[in-house]
């Protein structure tokens, strides 16, 4: 299963101040650990909300509101997408992250409801799928 790990903004991130070298190095090390464990699927840091915008939908009306936005602690400043076996595993990984004063949120991504049971047919044109079987059985 997958989890999105949502890192919240703070005064510095909203002011566009980059984290100091030590924090960057620690974070890089943590990312490396995640990648080495095959857990890290994707992750990005976001720029300050002053560079963003919101579109408000109200009935048929669309209103554009430019950043920055006030509620700093509610803003998203970055995210990871992790592939893990359980929520507990995601929590264990997050506990190892080099954060100090903040709260980081873990949210499960929807999936697998798409995988309905059925039988394989129609491999006719899915050429590489047949090949896959052949390569496996050949050895």
């Amino acid at each position: 299963m997958r989890f999105m790990v949502i890192v919240k903004a703070n005064k510095d991130s909203e002011a566009g101040v980059l984290p100091d070298e030590k924090i960057l190095a620690d974070m890089q090390k943590f990312n490396e650990e995640l990648a080495k464990a095959g857990v890290l699927l994707a992750g990005e840091g976001l720029q300050a909300s002053s560079k963003g915008a919101r579109v408000r939908f109200s009935g048929g009306k669309r209103t554009v509101i430019d950043g920055p936005f006030a509620e700093t602690k509610e803003l998203v400043a970055g995210f990871w997408l992790w592939q893990v076996k359980s929520k507990a595993e995601a929590i264990e990984w997050l506990k190892r992250a080099p954060f100090e004063d903040t709260e980081v949120e873990i949210r499960q991504v929807f999936e697998t409801e798409d995988f309905a049971p059925s039988d394989p047919t129609g491999k006719l044109r899915a050429a590489e799928e047949r090949l896959r079987q052949q390569v496996t059985s050949k050895r």
Partner: protein, 425 residues
């Protein structure tokens, strides 16, 4: 909020999943015996299950497990030495061997764990083991799966898997398989065994050979995880990246391969918006990585390149079939097989028209390997149908329907038989 025993157990499971492979790998280097290493790691796990519910989970659970396992290792070695003194008939030579085998535990722990993981992977995929044993041992020691989980995944009794693992560990010990990364000419063949095991696990998930579900995504995820770990451990190996690319791209289609009623959806009919574009991107990056390492592409990278042609096409009609045909040709040179040739024929037909494809297919007609292979008449029937040779197409579809063992596929083929009576659409 109170931490319940269940919470702690979940945490221990999670810690185990994160730490077990590194733990076993580190221990295996110290004690030079993968089976013993796993026993020691299991001892540490049992200790954690006993103590953590009361003491709480330590700040560095991995280090705690390693320290505990290490203590057990030392205990065992001491006991071993005492036993030896009592049995001096075993001789001085054995004593000397023991002496050498008593590891420098502290030095071992500080070393880079990555090499140990790679050694462990080469060991669990050692050719001395049967394929089934390699798969079970790899999932257990590197994937952190329990015996019960492996049994469920492969729909075999738990006792069968347990026995496979016990035998595998014994075989490794008896064969004296060294805990090392093979070098020189041996490395390539041993690496291909590792890749084969990972891809086997993936395929069992991608099109299950047994059971009611024809995909088991959890196994695909386990295989992908192993592949991604391996790509970090052996970044200089193009075929590792090739395999990862192939798995990422194939996995990206998992949710588009099944329609709302559970029916399979052909690649060209899939809603490409439902492909997992995170995985597509990862797959294309891994393929680039394989290509950038230089040299001729290997079989996995070539298959990944074929999969990438589909992944890059925004619609089925945009597929670069000429390129796919060329890649199949290259693949056929590396791993000659009539099935690859049949795939090439399909790609050629898509690129240059059914007549060109049919020529290639007709050359395969006398292949003994394809005699009972329903896809040969099925492909031939499709090409004949497109050429308007309906009577011949009909015969081929009938033959294909009689050969397939899959009920859904048979229905589809019989529909095509019927369509031959009506003429081209």
């Amino acid at each position: 909020m109170a931490v319940t025993a269940t919470d702690t157990h979940r945490t221990i499971e999670a810690v185990w999943r994160i730490e077990s492979a590194r733990l076993i790998a580190g221990l295996a280097r110290m004690v030079r015996d993968v089976g013993l290493a796993e026993d020691l790691a299991q001892d540490a796990l049992v200790a954690a299950l006993e103590r953590w519910p009361e003491s709480g989970v330590p700040d560095k659970p991995g280090a705690w497990l390693m320290a505990t396992a290490k203590r057990r290792a030392i205990d065992r070695f001491r006991r071993g030495k005492l036993a030896e003194r009592k049995h001096q008939e075993l001789g001085r030579e054995i004593e000397a061997q023991r002496e050498m085998a008593v590891p420098d535990l502290d030095a071992a722990i500080d070393d880079d764990i990555g090499d140990d993981l790679l050694r462990l992977m080469f060991t669990t995929c050692h050719p001395v083991l049967s394929t089934e044993a390699r798969v079970a041992l790899t999932l257990r020691l590197l994937g952190g799966l329990t015996t019960a989980e492996i049994a469920r995944a492969f729909l075999v009794p738990e006792a069968t898997v347990a026995q496979r693992i016990v035998r595998a560990k014994r075989t490794l010990a008896e064969a004296g398989v060294p805990f090392e990364v093979p070098r020189g000419p041996e490395r390539a063949s041993r690496l291909s065994s590792v890749l084969e095991v990972i891809y086997l696990i993936f395929n069992e998930g991608y099109s299950a050979t047994a059971g009611d579900d024809w995909v088991r995504p959890a196994l695909c995820e386990d295989a992908l995880r192993l592949g991604r770990i391996l790509a970090r451990l052996a970044p200089e190996e193009p075929e590792v990246h090739g395999l990862v690319a192939l798995m990422e791209i194939q996995a990206s289609r998992l949710r588009a391969r099944v329609g709302p009623a559970g029916e399979p959806v052909l690649l060209l009919d899939q809603d490409r918006g439902r492909w997992d574009h995170v995985l597509v991107r990862r797959g294309l990056e891994a393929l680039e990585c394989a290509q950038s390492l230089g040299g001729e592409l290997g079989p996995y990278a070539l298959q990944a390149a074929i999969a990438a042609c589909h992944a890059r096409a925004r619609t089925g009609a945009e597929t670069d079939w000429a390129r796919i045909a060329g890649l199949y040709e290259a693949l056929g040179r590396l791993t000659p097989s009539p099935v690859v040739e049949l795939n090439r024929a399909v790609a050629v037909a898509m690129a240059n028209g059914p007549r060109a494809g049919l020529e290639l297919v007709d050359r395969l007609a006398s292949e003994p390997a394809l005699e009972r292979y329903h896809l040969l008449p099925s492909v031939r029937g499709d090409l004949l149908f497109k050429l308007g040779r309906l009577d011949e197409a009909r015969t081929e579809f009938q033959r294909a329907a009689s050969l397939t063992r899959n009920a859904r596929e048979r229905t589809l083929l019989l529909e095509r038989v019927a369509a031959c009576a009506e003429g081209p659409r």
